[in-house]
Structure formats: C-alpha cells, structure tokens
Amino acid sequence: MILWWLGDAVLLLVVVPIVVYLLRGVLNVANSIVPSVQAIATVAAAGSKDLDAGALLVRTQEQAIETIAGVANYGGSLDVILDDA
C-alpha cells in the first residue's frame, strides 16, 4: 500500500507536470508558427500581384527589337552619309 501511494505521488508531482510542460511547449511553438505563415502568405500574394506587370515584358521585348532595328537602320544610313574619321 505504501508503494501505491508512493506511485500516486510520483504520478501527480512528477509525471503530470512534465507532461503538461512538454505539451505546452509544443503548443507554444505551433502557435508561434501561425503568424509567420500568415505573414508569408500575405507577402507571397503581394509578390504575385507585383509580378502582374511581368506580362508587359513581352511588349517591352518587341519594342526593344523594333528600336534596335530602327537604330541599326539609322546607323547604316549614317555610315553611308558620313565620312570616316
């Protein structure tokens, strides 16, 4: 009977506090992850929205090609009408 009481004491005074301590630690860590994940989600959505203008790069590419072609034409004309150094 003494051993039984001793086991009860150990269970109540040692095991229960340790279990509660460990579970609370896991819960605190899990709760701390939540705002970080939500912040990352917000940033990802904002980053995706910022890249909406990326589609315009196709037109920029076309304009760059057209501009360089025009410059090349002007350069060819200048090469003809100007004397070399």
Partner: protein, 211 residues
Amino acid sequence: MSGYVAPVLAFAPAAGVMILAVALIVLALVYYLVSVIVALWKITKGLDEVIVGVSEIIAKSAPVNDIVTTINANLDAGVDALEGLLVKKAGIDDAVGLVDGMYPGAAAAGFRNYPESGAITPPRIGEVYTKGTLTLARLGREAPVAVANPADGPVLRNVEGGSLAARLLYPDRRQKRPKTLARSPVIGTDAPEQYEQRDDIGEPRKRMPAR
C-alpha cells in the same frame, strides 16, 4: 438470507488517487493536443495560401529570364553597332570626348568593345558648342568658351584684353575713342531727311522695269 450486501464498486483510496492522476493526464493531453491540432490547421491553411501565391509567382516569372536575355542581347547588339559607328566616324579620341561631353565622367569607363579607350584622356568636346563657337574659341575672340580651352592646348584668348581685341575689328574711327559718333540716320515718313526722293510718284513710269 443474511443482510450482507456485496459492494459493487470498491477500491482502495490509493487507487482512486491514481485514477484521478491518470484522468488529469488524459485531460491535459486532450486539451493541449486539440490546441496543437487547431494551430496546425491554421498553419496548413496559411501554407495553402502561400503555395497559391508562390505558384503564381513561379508562373508569372517563368518567361522573364528568356525575355530579359533577349532584350539584353538586342541592346548589346545596338550598343556594339553604335560604338563601332561612333568610333569609325569620329575616331576613338573624339568619340571618347563626345561621350564624356554628354555624360561627364563616362570616359573613365571607356567603350565596351574598345578596352583601350578607358586610358584615353577625353578631349573637351561639348555638345553645346557649335563648330563656330569652337572656332572662335581657338581664335581667341569673345567666346567665353575660350577660357575653358576646348582645344586642350594653351589658351589663345587674352582674357584681360579680349574687349580691345574685339574693338580692333571695327573701323579706325572707333579706335580713337571719340566722345561722340555720328548718330544713326532717322528713317521714316517723318524723318527730316527723306531718302530716295522721287518726283515721279503718281506719274507714269519713265522707265519700265527690266524683264
């Protein structure tokens, strides 16, 4: 029949305490594990949103690399062509000077396809100076730019005597510094002296204009 009743549920007090302790442990496990589950559910929901956003970023940025590479290739070709044309037409020295005139300090970097151009001392050519201005500067006449000496040589213009040099361009009478000079003629219908006095105004022409 005797009056003895067998106990249905009988246990020692120590056993009751143990049951209570186990119940406490189970309650703690339930409370904390449910809380962890809720937190993990929130994390999963947030990660789903993150995955959606990141997927959009990946999809939208996928063609950027190729497009920017193409744009850079075209711009490189343009720069190469313009550099080559400029050096061909103006010569490497004047080309460096022209670029440095428009973008001060750019000559230090030199041309991309002409590594030796970085070591050239750029002649002072500014796009704001016309050829006439530069000619005047070299002649030392009245051009403020002469002080800057764009020819990169000794200053030809005498700054202190510059006005005298300019006055020498006028007729001799002005060189004697007269107190008064002949006034400019008054012109107009009310002028005391009417030029081209014609007596044939209103009359038939005496001489027909030549054909």
